[in-house]
Subunit: 279 residues, 4 copies
C-alpha cells in the first residue's frame, strides 16, 4: 500500500498500538497521514512518530473529530470572535451511554487516554490556550469490573489554563439516557452553551409528563457529520498544501493532559504539565 | 354595602346573571366597579349596564386578568414597540385541563361566551385593533354530554382584523396534560411566542425519555400573579383617578366577538361584527 | 430516454405544466414514476394522468417529501400508535423565509396550489383521514406585487376532517427569521408538537438576551434528509414491487384541497370537497 | 425584645459578626431562632453558639433558603425517590450578576464563606450525604480589586462524597446575563437538571436571532418564593414543635466545607474535612 505511488495519503484507524509504527512507515514513504487518536499511549513513542513526520515533511492530522461538529464550532466561534469576552469557566460534559466491553477496557490505556482525550483536546480548542495544571477526582461507580481492570469509569477533572481560565471535564462511562455531549463557556462578556442532538424535535405531552425521545445514542450517530467534515478538511489540506486543522502537536498535548490526569488521580494531587513533558 | 360611604369601590365576582344589576346599583351609589367577565350574556343588557356606568361617571374595570400576565404582556410589548413589526398572523391556544361540571356548562352561556371570551379579549389586546369578521369551526369531541346540553367543547376560530391581520383561536375543554395557554404573533419584522408555566424547571432524563413535570394545571395556579396585578391596577386607577386598564368597552367588544362566533358556528359561515352590533 | 430498456424508472422534476404529459408518456413506456408535486394545476388533467398510470399498471410516487422528515414522522407515529389518542385539533405552521421571484409567482398557480399543497398533504398524513370542508382566510400582507399578480401571501386555512378533527394551516411567504416548519396535534389522550431545525444547538447569553442562531433558512437545508429518504423509499418500492408510500391518489387529494381553499378564499365561505370533485 | 414573653421566636438577619452572640442571648431567653447563614466565620464561635442552643433546648433554623426553591426541591426529590438511582456526578452552577461593593467584600469572610456556602449546603442537600474531601481551583478574573482585598471571584470546587459521588461547584461573581443558578445530578438510572428562572417565557424571533429576555437578575427576584417558604417552614416547626428543616448542624457543615475550600485554595491541594473539624 505504502509503495503505491498512486496513493498520496493514508488514513490510520487501526488499533492504537499500531499507530506510531504505521505513521513512521507512512512518513518514510512520503504519504500524507490522517491518524485516529491517540497517536500512542506513550509520550516517548508519540514523540518518535512525530519526529518521523517532521523529518519527512509530510502532513499529519489527528482524528479529533469533535472540533468539526457544528455545535462545538459555534462555541469556539463565540470565544474566538470575542462574542462572550475572555473565557473564565468551561464545562465539558462527555458521557458514554454504556461502558465498552471489558476486553476493550483492558487494552484501552484507561479512560483518560481513551475517552477523556477527546475532552482534553476540546478544552484546548475551545479556550485557545494551553493548560498548566490538572486535578482529577475519579472513581469506579458504574461497574466494579472496570475497577478490577485498574481503570475508572467516572471522573471530574479540573484544568487550569495559562491565562487563568478554569475548566471542569465531566466523564461517565454510563449515562442511561444516551450519549451526553455538552459544553459551555462563561466569559467576561457572556456565556455560550451547547447541548445534545436528537433524532427528532417532537415533544409529547400526556397526563404523565412532557417528554421527548432520547438523544442520539452514541458517536456514530451523534458525530457522523463531523467525521465527514474532518475527512473533507484533511483532503483539502492535502490538495491545497495547507496546514492540517488538527496537528500532531494537538495530539501530543492531549496525550500529555491525559497522562497528567492519570498521575493526578494516582497521587491525589494537582499535577502540572511540566511534570509530564518537562519544559 | 352600597350605602356605606366608607366604601369607595366594589368587586363583583358573583354569578354572571347578577353582574348587570349589581353594576347598575353600584353605579347609582357612586361606587367604582371591578366586574368579572362577562358583563352579561346579552348585548342589550350589557349596554344598559354600561349606560348606567356612563351616567354615574364611575370607573369600571372588567376582569380580563390575562392581560396582566407577564407572558402575554411581553407578547403585547413586542407588538406595541414595533419589535416584530406589523402583526400578520396570531395564534392563541387556550385549553382547559378538563371540562367544568355539567351544571356549570348548562348555565354558562356556552363555551364562546364563557371560555373563549378571554381569548377574544386577548386577540384584541395583542393586535391592538378591532376584529371585523369571525369564522368558527367547532365540534363536540371531548364529552357527548356537552353536546346534549347544546354546547361545544372544541373549536378553531378565525378572526380577521381591520388592518388585515388574521388570528386563530384554538379551544379545547380537555388537554389531559394540563392548562395550555399560549400565544404567538408573526409580524412583518419577526415573531413572538409564549408558552406554558411550570411549577418547576427540572428535566429528568432516564432510559425511556427526557421529560419534565406537567404545566400548572389550571387558572388558579397559572394566573395567580395576574389576579393580583389586575386588582392592583384597579386600585391604582381608583386612587389616582386614572382610566381603568380594561374598560366596559373591552367587555362589550369581547361579548360581541363571542356572539359572532356562536352565530358563525350555528350558520356555518363567516359573520361580520356589524351583524351583531350594527355599525 | 423513455425508449431505453435499461431504464426502469424516471424522476420528474420539470416545471409543473409538463408533469401530466411526461407521466402519460412514461406510463405508456412502462416506466415507474416519481413526480414532483403537483401533478397538474387542473384536476381534470391530473385525472387523465392518473388514468394513464392506472392503465399502464406502473407505480407513481408524488414528491411530498415532508412525510419523510424525522420530525413529522414522529408526529404521525404519535397519532398512529394511539400515544396521544384520537386527534382533535391540528396546527400546521409553514412559512417561507421570503417570497419567490415574481416571475415564479405568476406561473405557480397561486400559493394554495404551490405552497400550501404540502400542508394539505401533511394534514391528511398526520390525521390519517380525509378532509370534508375547507375555509380560507387569506390576504396580501407581505408584498403588494403578489396581490397585483392575483395571488395572496398570508393565510389561515381551517380544515374539517371526516371524523370531527379540525386543523389550522398557517402560511406566510415571509418569516424574516427563516423557514418556519412546525406541526402539532392535540388528541384525546395527549398532544405532540414539533419545531424547527437549526444548524447548531448553541445558546449565547449576553447582557442583552439569551439567544440562538436562526433556524435552517429554507427547504434545501431543512429537508435535505427527507429528499434522500423519499427517493430511497421510491427505489425500494420499485425494487421490491411494493406500493409507493405516497401515491397518485395523495397527489389528487392535495390538489382538491388546494382548489377548495382557493374557492373558499374567492367566495368568502366554507367549501366542501364534494363541490370540487363531485362525490 | 428578648425579654418580651409575648415573643416566641426571633429572626436574625443582622451582619454576620453579630449572629453568634444574638443566638446565645436568644437561646438563653428561650426563644426559637431563625438565623441567616453563616452562623459565624469561625468554627469555634459557631460551636459555642450551637452549644448554647443545645443547652437551651430551643429550635434553630439556618437560612439556606435555596432548599425551599421548587426547582432544587424537584432535583432533590428525583434523587431521594430513586427516580435517577444512586448519585454519581453533581454540578452546581451559582453565579452572581455582579460583584458586591468592595466594602462588603472586605468584611464578607471571602467568597467561599459568603457565597459558596449556599452551594456547599446545596451539594449536601441534593446528594444527602457528607463530603469527605474538597479541592479548589480559584482565581481573580472579574475584578483585580477583589484580589487586592485578598479574595477570589471565580472558582471551580470539586467535592468527594462519602458514598463515592463527586460534585463540581462553579462560582463566578459576574455573569453579565444575570443570576445563574442551576444544578444537575447524574445518577445510576438517569439524570436531573434544573435551570434559571425568567420573568417571562416569551421568545422573540427576528432576522438576527431567536432570543428571550434575561433571567431574573438576582436573589431577591429569583428566590422570593423560597424566602416565604423557609419562613413558613420555620413557623410550622415552632407551632407544631417539630424539628426545623435546616438545622444548626447543617450550618456548621457548610461552614466546614467553606473553610476546607479556602484551605485547599491557599495550599493548592485537596483538603479532607477531618483537617478542619477533627473527627
Amino acid at each position: 500500500l505504502l509503495d503505491d505511488p498512486e496513493i498520496d495519503a493514508i488514513v490510520i484507524c487501526s488499533s492504537t498500538n499500531t499507530h506510531a509504527q504505521i505513521i513512521e512507515e507512512a512518513a518514510a514513504a512520503g504519504k500524507q497521514i490522517f491518524c485516529e487518536k491517540p497517536i500512542d499511549l506513550s509520550l516517548a513513542r508519540t514523540d518518535e512518530a512525530l519526529a518521523a513526520v517532521e523529518r519527512a515533511g509530510v502532513k499529519l492530522q489527528i482524528g479529533f473529530n469533535r472540533r468539526f461538529d457544528a455545535n462545538y464550532r459555534r462555541v469556539r466561534q463565540a470565544v474566538e470572535s470575542g462574542e462572550i469576552g475572555t473565557p473564565h469557566l468551561v464545562h465539558i460534559i462527555s458521557r458514554d451511554p454504556a461502558p465498552p466491553p471489558m476486553e476493550y477496557v483492558r487494552v484501552s490505556g484507561g479512560m483518560f487516554v481513551d475517552m477523556t482525550i477527546h475532552d482534553f483536546d476540546m478544552a484546548r480548542y475551545l479556550v485557545g490556550e494551553e493548560v498548566e495544571e490538572v486535578y482529577t477526582a475519579a472513581a469506579v461507580l458504574v461497574d466494579p469490573a472496570i475497577g478490577e481492570a485498574g481503570d475508572v469509569d467516572t471522573a471530574l477533572i479540573t484544568l487550569r489554563f495559562a491565562g487563568g481560565a478554569m475548566a471542569c471535564i465531566d466523564n461517565s462511562r454510563r449515562a442511561v439516557y444516551g450519549y451526553d455531549q455538552r459544553a459551555e463557556v462563561l466569559g467576561s462578556r457572556g456565556a455560550v452553551q451547547t447541548g445534545n442532538q436528537y433524532a427528532n424535535a417532537a415533544i409529547i405531552s400526556t397526563g404523565e409528563s412532557i417528554r421527548r425521545d432520547l438523544p442520539l445514542n452514541f458517536f456514530m450517530d451523534r458525530y457522523v457529520e463531523s467525521f465527514v467534515a474532518e475527512m473533507t478538511a484533511f483532503i483539502e489540506a492535502v490538495r491545497d498544501d495547507t496546514p492540517t486543522p488538527v496537528t500532531g502537536y494537538d495530539g501530543r498535548m492531549a496525550l500529555i493532559l491525559a497522562l497528567a490526569a492519570r498521575k493526578s488521580h494516582r497521587e491525589g494531587r494537582p499535577v502540572r504539565m511540566s511534570e509530564i513533558a518537562g519544559n
